[in-house]
Amino acid sequence: MSGEFRIAGKGRLTPARQARFSFDGKYYTALEGDTIASALLAHGVHLMGRSFKYHRPRGVVTAGPEEPNALMNVARDAARQQPNVRASVQEVFEGMKVTSQNRFPSLSFDVGGINNLLSPFFAAGFYYKTFMWPKAAWKHIYEPVIREAAGLGVAPKEADPDHYANRYAHCDVLVIGGGLAGISAALAAGRAGAEVILVDEQPELGGAAHYDSGLTVDGQPAYEWAQAAGARLAARKNVKVLTRTTAFGYYAHNFVALAERVTDHLSIPERAAPRERLWQVRAKKVIIASGAIERHMVFDGNDRPGVMMASAARAYLNHFGVAIGSNVGVFTAHDSAYEAAFDLANAGVKIAGIVDVRERPGEAVMAEAARLGIEVMTGQSVVTTGGKLRVNSMSVIRKAGGTQRKIAVDALITCAGWTPSVHMFSQSRGKLRFDAENQRFLPDVYVQECVSVGACNGTDDVSALVAEAFSAGENAARAAGATGDVRTAPEASTAYRWAGGMIGTPEGAGPEDGGKAFIDFQNDVCAKDIRLAVREGMASIEHIKRFTTNGMASDQGKLSNMHGLAIAAEALGKGIPEVGLTTFRAPYTPVTFGTILSHSRGALFDPTRKTPIHAREEALGAVFEDVGNWKRAWFYPKPGEDMHQAVNRECKTVRTSAGIFDASTLGKIEVVGPDAAAFLNLMYTNAWDNLKPGRCRYGIMLREDGYVYDDGVVGRMADDRFHVTTTTGGAPRVMNHMEDYLQTEFPHLKVWLTSTTEQWATIAVQGPKARDIIAPFVEGLDLSNEAFPHMSVAECKVCGVPARLFRMTFAGELGFEVNVPADFGADVWDALHAATEAVGGCAYGTETMHVLRAEKGYIIVGQDTDGTLTPDDATVGWAVSRKKTDFVGIRGLMRPDLTKSGRKQLVGLKTRDPKVVLEEGAQIVADPNQPKPMTMLGHVTSSYWSENLGSSIAMAVVVDGRSRIGQTLYVPMEKETIAVEVTDTVFYDKEGSRINA
């Protein structure tokens, strides 16, 4: 039995097709096509959640994606769990496990309900005023408790095993919304021959036809017509119909994002199917047919389970065959709610009465109500309700005051009117105008190639909206060049013409209505909160929104924005258009992270760059670190070694025999042309004219403001050819910097730049035995110290392949860097590595590279510098030519702040206790006993244990650092203060004799 409130013969679901699911541990039978909400309502279950702040019992309010209350956790299995699922959207599948949220220990008995009693302390904006005292209580009591209590729903702990897909699509016409207007537009555009995509968020097309039993199109009931038209459209080669698909974002140049829910409604999804699919659509023309959203009446107690939208009651009855109660009250300002009463009455449900704030509702609906014997109370308001876990009464008064009349109900449906859904239009950056007569905002000025049709454009009359949409579809198709015959437009009619509608609180409810008249259900925002915000001085609607959190929940104010605006305008004494609406933002409804990420997860999140020698390093047992997108060998632990042991061994080995290191990730740029030297003169601080072919030099590159931007050794291969190197991380930005100047500042220079980072494999061999190691493999070059001194470069052959050999070192030893074409890198490494090991050397990684260079005081741009150091600050002022009349940064260096004293300068630090290793980033002070906040002189930029020196070493930037050499400074840490002596930055081989071996 699919529920005692399922009415035989009503609805469109098939009684024989059933599915069982559980809600809070209790099992229910649903019909295929039920949502969780309709299935629960069929069994008379209205209590579906607890509200965010006050933990008030709540039921479902809508039958669609605008649902604010009935948010549930839906699980397939331990890993496939989704919190905050709207019960009015999620279709039931066999075996689904549903649990309610935000309640302990149970929905019906929730200790959080105490918040409701304490609600005077939780008025809007309470976050800014409470939990202030005592100050210490914040860290240990208030914050942890608030964090525990906050939020709706619990995130799953298991990784998401599903996969998500992504497609790009181009079309002539994108129709957003598959109701009567959308289908009509798609029919015209499709018949004309345009490429059309029609998208609707519901499982079937039809929109309002789901609930509006009075609609007919071309003589057929509208719902049937919609299914048939949809099938004809889908059969066309030039039309794609996507259901269960939400257009959630409208971006620049008619780029619209769609989220298609592929498997969430299926009990056993196909294994290969993605759970969701992101469509990124570029459309020549967009037709927005997004309809209108019903809003609720605002009165005290309007949030009890059983109080819901009138059209939701109609949808549950006419589509799902479910009666939402057996004694239903109606409170309305609009004619459409009457049709809900008629449908329920005709299905055998008692209508307790229709309360209408208007003195004169529509004549036709009044007549029908009379004919059905339904009492209508005009000019009256519902001022409160009764009931705890279910509404059980409504209290009615005349507008002008008077006694309350309490009427028993077990459900109460309300309608304050219909708000055109202008979200997509607004996201397209169009401007709205306020239609004062109908109290609504409508599209006005378009900035993109789109058009709004139907209810979202203010065209409510059903025959007019079909014609308007059909015409728009034809126009859009023609504009795209389609020439087919569109034939005739459908003709639609409806039983009643609707009128009415209001925003804000009904008269007679009083300005200071005690109790809670909810405008935003999900964030528990009441009418009085808006008034409080205005009293507190919030005058902008954006401030009122954030102060009260109205419209900031996952439903984004679909029901509440207009009410909030009306109440704010009244409180401010301003007109509605003057106060205005807050900005509409994507996504229109929540989108899962998986859909956005698609396949960009795990290993595919970012491209991984590996050098040609990577596999060899892996085979040697290297542990890798990430340097940007690169994988670099960090250290090579021998069996039983931890990182420190490995690094210490590598450091000692390099300086006692030799080490071999993969430097392939460093950037390389080939600079070629008659003006190559002139160009490099402009890009670097150094003078390159006097660098002869066959020599290389360490270059410093600045930004125009004089700060160090990058560095690297530059080799001159010929008069017109330079082999430039950069830092690993800086390669692309240095190339970009050079191209910028070359293309746009110095285009007259005859020089060409080519990135060769990936074309050369670079192998460094460093240490006293370096020459012995490589010599047997080098052809065509005299490697003696006299013929090939430090900072030389030459073309030769290494292991029989063409190479560029640099004599240079970042370790401060006799050293060489072998550059061979990348494809030969692994094999050349094999040969050189074997030779290195044969003399007692070893492979070393980036950690050892860092330690060795720090022992020599060589800077690392981006670690010891941070974009605010000049060359002089960074100990490389010697690299700045004093003779050149122009280079990038020349003028910046002259700025007063860059030449004054008191700048931070890079120095060395030795800890008084040599075993203590400083932490990088630690702050440095002169007097450790000064009161806080202390005057900080600088911070530690690099810090290591040096096995070669038997002590810790560090580099730091310190105010007037060089004048403090010899002084003792202090590094205050959480548990201790470390004394340090300021030194220069070179700790090892100050004379540099090892380099020149």
Binding site: Y251, A252, H253, F255, Q280, R282, R429, K431, V445, V447, E704, D705, N736, E739, D740, Q743, T744, E745, P747, T885, D886, I890, R891, G892, M894, R895, P896
Partner: protein, 106 residues
């Protein structure tokens, strides 16, 4: 996602292929080593930020790699025109957009 017309490739390409490169038509001063602090600050730091038409540079980074100029409206994100590096600044008049860069959506 913007569509940007590369004047070198002569095609509309998605913004994913481009990098924004700041305000256009800012020439590096001649004899930059001898200009005043104020003139340097003006050159290096001061940039326009109009609610209206902006002259800016883009680079077709994942394409031909060239820098070029563009006129774009900062509210509607509509590109009015793109043109090659080195070409003179296009005036609003020459683009049929009146003479003053008044704000507001276009």
């Amino acid at each position: 996602m913007l569509l940007i017309h590369c004047p070198y490739c002569q095609e509309d390409r998605s913004e994913l292929e481009f990098r924004a490169a700041g305000e256009a038509h800012i020439a590096r001063p001649e004899n930059i080593a001898s200009i005043s602090d104020e003139a340097f600050a003006e050159y290096f730091f001061m940039r326009d930020n109009p609610k209206g038409y902006i002259w800016e540079r883009w680079r077709h980074f994942n394409g031909c790699g060239r820098f070029f100029n563009a006129v774009r409206h900062t509210v509607s994100d509509k590109f009015v025109v793109t043109y090659k590096a080195g070409e003179p600044k296009r005036s609003l008049e020459s683009l049929g957009l009146g003479t003053t860069n008044a704000g507001g959506a276009k």
